[in-house]
Amino acid sequence: MATTALEHAPAHHEEATGIWSWITTVDHKRIGIMYGVTAFLFFLLGGLEALVIRMQLWGPDGRLVSAEVYNQLFTMHGTTMIFLGVMPLSAMYFNYMIPLQLGARDVAFPRLNAFSYWVFLLGGLIINASWFFGAAPNGGWFGYANLTSAQYSPGLNIDFWTVGLQILGVASLAAAVNFFVTVINLRAPGMGMMHMPMFVWMSFITQILLLLSFPIITVALVLLMIDRSFGTHFFVPAGGGDPILWQHLFWLFGHPEVYILILPSFGIVSEILPVFSRKPLFGYAAMVFSGAFIAFVGFGVWAHHMFSTGMGPFADAFFALATMIIAIPTGVKIFNWIGTVWGGKLEFKTPMLFALGFIAMFIMGGLSGVMHASPPADLQQTDTYFIVAHFHYVLFGGAIFALTGGAYYWWPKMSGKMLDEGLGTLHFWLMMIGFNLTFFPMHIVGLNGMPRRVYTYSAESNFELLNKMETVGAFLLGLAMLVFMWNILKTWRSHQPPAPADPWNGATLEWAIPSPPQHFNFPALPRVHGRDALWEMKRVAGGTLPEPTPVAHDAVPMPNPSWKPLVAALGVAITLGGFIGGSHLWVHAVGLVVLFYGVYAWAFEDPFAATGH
């Protein structure tokens, strides 16, 4: 390891600070932090929306919010959690951790990376700006045609949704190209594909899913937008259009999307378990192939969301079988995680608690998924709270548990501070109990006939008791979030000694460098000879490595900051924003001008040109 090779480096330069340095940053770590902060705020907003939903459903014939507002709430809750919560939280880890774990200085295209973030931020802001117009999207997170047509949804609500999601799609695609190339090309010398940390592998597969599934929803959204703006009939039956096509296009994207949401979490858990079991990941190759297989088969199961549309027995049978097959590779993952823990020396630090909680909860969600995969049975389950239970077990019990575990695990690396273990444990148990109290009863209330997306239920239906439990659980979850935030705040202000480079005895390269890392990550690119690179280095060194010392900040030339990506991002947002409330040529024109200016300025800028200092 060559981190200590620059001991005699020149004087120590401070990194730039201040708001402008963040706006123009092209540093993957800063961009990662911006992704994280933004996504966490959106997550809280989505959670707040969920809390209002839960309060409305506290008792029968609830009157807290109107039907109209309720519909906006669950649409925005779903949309926010998926597109502005879990996806960008994963993107935070892609940004921060992929280059570090690969032993790289940055992503392949640092400015494109900044562009992705800005487009994501603007998309999220535009979609949420709808609240100020009293016109938040209200068609459900999968916006089934023909309710979303101009005839049945004349307001701005659906426009905000189609435009916002298209903008977010641009961000995801740009990021996916970037990380795809990064993983293939920026692996440290000696790191073969089958040496990469599992988080990088799962993220890599996620990028492939993004690349191949986002264009599909883009087309669907474009067609819907054209229908609404120009009066075509792609999804309007009166002109021969078929609303079922929307469903196929949406779920062709939508199912790969759920694996986009979970695969990074699989990766995070696969990082945490070995470290706190003191034992390498069990069945590395099987883990890689099962992940790839899940993604691949994930493209062939979309119509399991459409069993009640009456596709005919052959299609039903095909999609049922394809869906069930996914349980096999997922099972392989579960068993290999248990295999990793098995025979280890488990240390129940907070990240480990969340990782174990993830496995326990995800199994539950996966099994109810297999129950939906049986079409005749699903005819009773679909569109009830049984489905809501399933997807919160995989999304919250799965993704959010793992992402939270990742936060505790990587917090020292990202912030240079350790989070409090006691509060972390409290956070975990509150979340575990609150989560199950919120979502377990949904299985029961669902099978007993409570449909989803209803703003209220009758007293006759007798759903009250279970709904009350769910609401209490949701507030426990809120409390858990407050504990987390308190933990962050408390440790942020405390004067603890800076976190060491390697607080957990980690196995991967991000722990080889100071916490937080310097701008260029690695003064010299590390040489890798196998998996678990850092453990290997420690083994060779016969125990621990010396704490790496920071070197001069200008020891390695890094690309200059740039505001051009922000301009280009504004161009994208304005151009597409012109489709809110019809098509406004002027807005498109202005947007295109800004976009082209941004792109040209960016293309002809030399990222390494000498700057003022």
Partner: protein, 209 residues
């Protein structure tokens, strides 16, 4: 390892030896495949599902008067040939760029752009002509799917042209030495991709009834 060399292995080191940008453009092209697949799929699913005319192939009625089939094969055959030509020309231009043959580079690049412009012109003419024959964007499912699919292709061609023209300007300024030929190669790859999409669209939309 000394400080002076600290960066020697960084911004041009790639694990596969393929340039980052080249890999990126291919990745993007892969993604674009799905974009056009969705559009073509939509076109095909809706084919023949129109409630009213015009029909792409065969006769239809406008205000009770029988009309010819909509699509005009000779015109698009010409357009198709233009795109194929341009693909051929751009490889020659790239070849010139890589060899440092400025004349070859600029000449063929210009030829490529001319062909591309004529293709777009063909499409504009075609759209106009159809509109005059009573096929507006919203007239029926065929017209909407047709205009959307070919229109998005046309947009891609236009973007490709903007890109090629930018490269041409750079080349004219003498800033496209052989070691920077990748700047042209990326645009060329995109251009070829737009061409192969048309190779699919041409029979699927125009030739198969």
């Amino acid at each position: 390892m000394a400080t002076a060399h600290a960066h020697a292995d960084d911004h041009h080191y790639t694990a596969t030896g393929i340039d980052n940008r080249k890999l990126a453009i291919w990745t993007f092209i892969g993604s674009e495949c799905m974009f056009f697949a969705s559009l073509i799929g939509t076109y095909l699913v809706y084919k023949g599902r129109d409630v009213v005319g015009p029909k792409p192939h065969g006769e239809w009625l406008l205000n009770g008067v029988a009309q010819e089939q909509m699509l005009e094969i000779p015109l698009v055959t010409f357009g198709t040939a233009l795109l194929l030509f341009s693909s051929f020309f751009v490889v020659l231009a790239l070849n010139g760029a890589q060899k440092g043959n400025r004349k070859q580079l600029i000449g063929w690049l210009l030829a490529t752009i001319v062909c591309g412009v004529f293709f777009v012109g063909m499409q504009v003419y075609e759209f106009n002509h159809f509109a005059h024959r009573g096929m507006g964007y919203t007239t029926n499912l065929f017209s909407s799917t047709f205009y959307t699919l070919t229109g998005f292709h046309g947009t891609h061609v236009t973007l490709g042209l903007v890109w090629l023209v930018s490269v041409l300007v750079v080349a004219l300024r003498g800033k496209l030495p052989p070691e920077k030929a990748l700047n042209l190669e990326m645009a060329a790859l995109y251009w070829h991709f737009v061409d192969v999409v048309w190779i699919v669209i041409f029979p699927v939309v125009y030739l198969i009834r």
